[in-house]
Symmetry: C2
Amino acid sequence: MSVDREHVLRSAAALLTRKSTSTMDEVAKAAGISRATLHRLFAGRDALVRALEGLGIEECEAALTAARLGDGTAQEAVRRLVRELEPAAGLLAFLYTENQLFEGEEQNEGWARIDAAIAALFRRGQQSGEFRIDLTPAWLTEALYGLMASGAWAVSEGRVAPKDFKHMIVELLLGGALRREES
Amino acid sequence: MSVDREHVLRSAAALLTRKSTSTMDEVAKAAGISRATLHRLFAGRDALVRALEGLGIEECEAALTAARLGDGTAQEAVRRLVRELEPAAGLLAFLYTENQLFEGEEQNEGWARIDAAIAALFRRGQQSGEFRIDLTPAWLTEALYGLMASGAWAVSEGRVAPKDFKHMIVELLLGGALRREES
DNA sequence: ACCATATGAGACATCATTGTCTCATCCCAG
DNA sequence: CTGGGATGAGACAATGATGTCTCATATGGT
């Protein structure tokens, strides 16, 4: 009888990824429940967004764990990270832009931890000599988010094939557009 | 006596870049005029956004012209393009996310022209052998927008120094994070 | 079969924003 | 100095979304 809260969260994420201004009514319809039930599950729109933020943080942290950022070369770790992050890309894109709205407000500490872990990975790559040192870890982290969001939108609008998502992001982030010498 | 429409547009762009959900009242205050006058200049919020879109398109096309995309190597052209685009980065970031809201609607043909010109530049770089061919021109174009938006936000939140904006974007887009062999 | 509970449908007040209007005031041109 | 147009301040209704409520219905467990 009880509605699957997880399912509601997932479909809300999917809808809000496509149209970030969807109303509670649209979110409810998309989940196949009534607005009343949606309000019983989440006290309001803010609560829903915060729940989505929690879900996003959970998925990111799961991805960080699964990617074992400390293992192997930093380059390999980045590839694993993007692979693990891919299923959450749409949600991340939504939350990424949503965060731009919070002008001064403190951001969830979960994001700070995630940012720090990813920045640490890039720093490790710099210290090992794999990554260039003229691009700061903070910027590389930001760029990873930005490329994930761009990739998610490009896929959802058919400009990039879903199967190419990971390749496009990882290759651009690591290798850039320039053709490399065959070394 | 007559209010400087251009100035209003600029300050609206600056405000909406930071907080994309600002109300007409906030936009008016930011421009130093009353809401009544703002409504006299722009029939409504839609008209304001469309005017901003027009401004963004103008600035992009001016940047495309100034960057002379056909001259020299494609790499040099990309560098010039980012440099010319930098002053409009905040506005572009706003419009980029704003466009995600228009689900099915036709997008302004101006963007299609701009997209085509940038994609053509990347294609030229591929044909000349400068750029790798496994990243599609459409994706490289999308990634350029995404990195510009990420860069604009990172600067506005103090995570990246304004003077590094161009370098961070161009270097990541062209060269990627990996350290290159000293060739 | 029965009861408890969850759900759906919808009414309702509230709230913020928008768009329109009026009117007083200001400022520049003549 | 004066008249006319532009502006600012604010009132007002309309709109759309939200949050709360009630009640009928459906569903699931006992």
